[in-house]
């Protein structure tokens, strides 16, 4: 009798296994396809519909791995809607707390938290800045650098200058030219003396010249209407960013940015003086 019972049970188990497996496969397909739908909607910036699908996914399949990842996309949708910043912030913060959250999405979520915190601060929520300041000490370079870069835009200079040590570190240690230029401009904004110290700490061989000077004087004026002293590394960018009228005057005299750079590079201490038709004088020199 026992043998018969055992055989029946074994038969039942073996018989039900494929059915259970098929059922599980169906569930995986259902949550995954719902998640894919969400991502397509996010791609097309259809935020409200995507939000509806995310809620459906999290409700129907609360233990699906896609339900966790959908939290990040919930943040994206709320952020995209524009008027639900605080909810978006909550969603991103919930995502980074998840066990098994993916590293690249964590970095993205941290970046969004920094963006939203700055928006909230500029909108009058002074406490929101804490979300950026705490990230200045993040172990992850990507998060720490981005927090410092964004903090440099804060209108309160006392707060903005807190970004200076991280920005200075970027100038001293990083090699990516895009990141370096961003850090240099951010430092020029919040602490030019820190930039000077960072540049002077670099080996001289990296650049023969240290500083680019530009001075523009109106006709008959001794004091310049415009002047700047910036690291030579930003020279190309600075010359491109001159006022349109000044750029036109330079072009009219047969100079373009490449020619100016070449002439300055020929001699370390050369001074380029360009006289405009209206009597204005543009002086560019390096040392």
């Amino acid at each position: 009798m026992r043998k018969v019972t055992l055989i029946i049970c074994l038969g039942l188990v073996l018989g039900l296994m494929p059915a259970a497996s098929a059922l599980r496969a169906d569930v995986q397909t259902a949550d995954e396809s719902l998640f894919r739908e969400v991502k397509l909607l996010v791609f097309d910036k259809d935020w409200r519909t995507a939000l509806g699908k995310i809620d459906e996914l999290r409700e129907k399949f609360p233990y699906s791995p896609w339900a966790g990842e959908a939290l990040f996309y919930k943040g994206e949708c709320l952020n995209g809607l524009g008027d639900r910043d605080r909810e978006a912030l909550r969603a991103y913060k919930d995502y980074i707390q998840l066990v098994g959250a993916r590293q690249n999405l964590i970095e993205e979520a941290e970046g969004r938290i920094i963006d939203i915190a700055l928006d909230l601060y500029e909108g009058g929520d002074a406490g929101a800045l804490r979300d950026i300041e705490t990230r200045l000490g993040a172990a992850n370079d990507v998060i720490r650098y981005y927090a410092a870069y964004k903090l440099s835009f804060v209108s309160d200079k006392k707060e903005a200058v807190k970004a200076a040590p991280v920005l200075k570190k970027i100038v001293e240690t990083e090699t990516d030219p895009e990141l370096l230029d961003r850090a240099r401009i951010a430092l020029l904004r919040v602490s030019p003396e820190s930039l000077k110290a960072a540049e002077e700490g670099q080996p001289r061989a990296r650049t023969t010249a240290r500083t680019l000077h530009i001075s523009i004087r109106a006709a008959g004026q001794k004091e310049p209407a415009f002047s700047l002293n910036i690291p030579f590394a930003l020279a190309d960018l600075a010359l491109s960013a001159l006022d349109d009228e000044d750029k036109a005057a330079i072009r009219k005299k047969g100079y373009d940015i490449n020619k100016i750079m070449n002439e300055l590079a020929k001699s370390k201490e050369s001074l380029l003086r360009i006289a405009g038709d209206d009597g204005s004088i543009i002086e560019i020199w390096i040392d």
Binding site: N104, K150, R182, P192, A241
Partner: protein, 228 residues
Amino acid sequence: MNNDDEMKFFLKETEAVREEIRRVSGSVDWEALPGLIADKALAEPRRAEPAWPAAGPWGWLWALRMKPVLAGLAAGLVVGAAAMYFILKAPSAGPAADSAYYASGEFLDRAELEMARRNTLDYLEKSQYMLLDVFDSAGKGPAEPAALRNERARDLLQKKKYLNAQLERFQMAKAKAICDQIEMLFRELSEISEEMSATELQRIRVLVEERQLLLKINLVKRELQSGV
């Protein structure tokens, strides 16, 4: 007066002087005289020293007034040192002597805008190459290793983070919209593993074609390039 008379007169006057000398010599205590001379010689400078003016912040000027050579020397040193300082501090070329970095906020904004334009162009170009690689991988072209593709996608995602801030700030809406769509694709690419790549890459390829992403990238690139 003849010569004899002159001689007599001379000897008489000399005798008078000699008598005076004898008288004075007799009154001198020759043993005590050296000590007396030494005492007077040592006492002389102390007596000549003027009274020191009342102590005060300008008291040192008194000493300079009394010692013109020293005062002149000190003044020369101060002026010389100051002149050397300014000569060495001044730049070797150029009209301004200031070497500290500075730039106006307005200029920095323009520099940021220029940087946004350049970096967006660079991002779009790199994105194009990346998407063309995906097309190759999804079709019959040479497939790029998944690890390398994922790394490149992550790198572009990081760049995009900074672009977001700049594109929003300078209201470059068209560029922002296309960069956002590309970002979404790169997020997908950064997660695709080697074994599931064929199907996933095909899916992304279809999406890129349906949304005419490469055409849109070219149009935005042209707009940004015209801003040079």
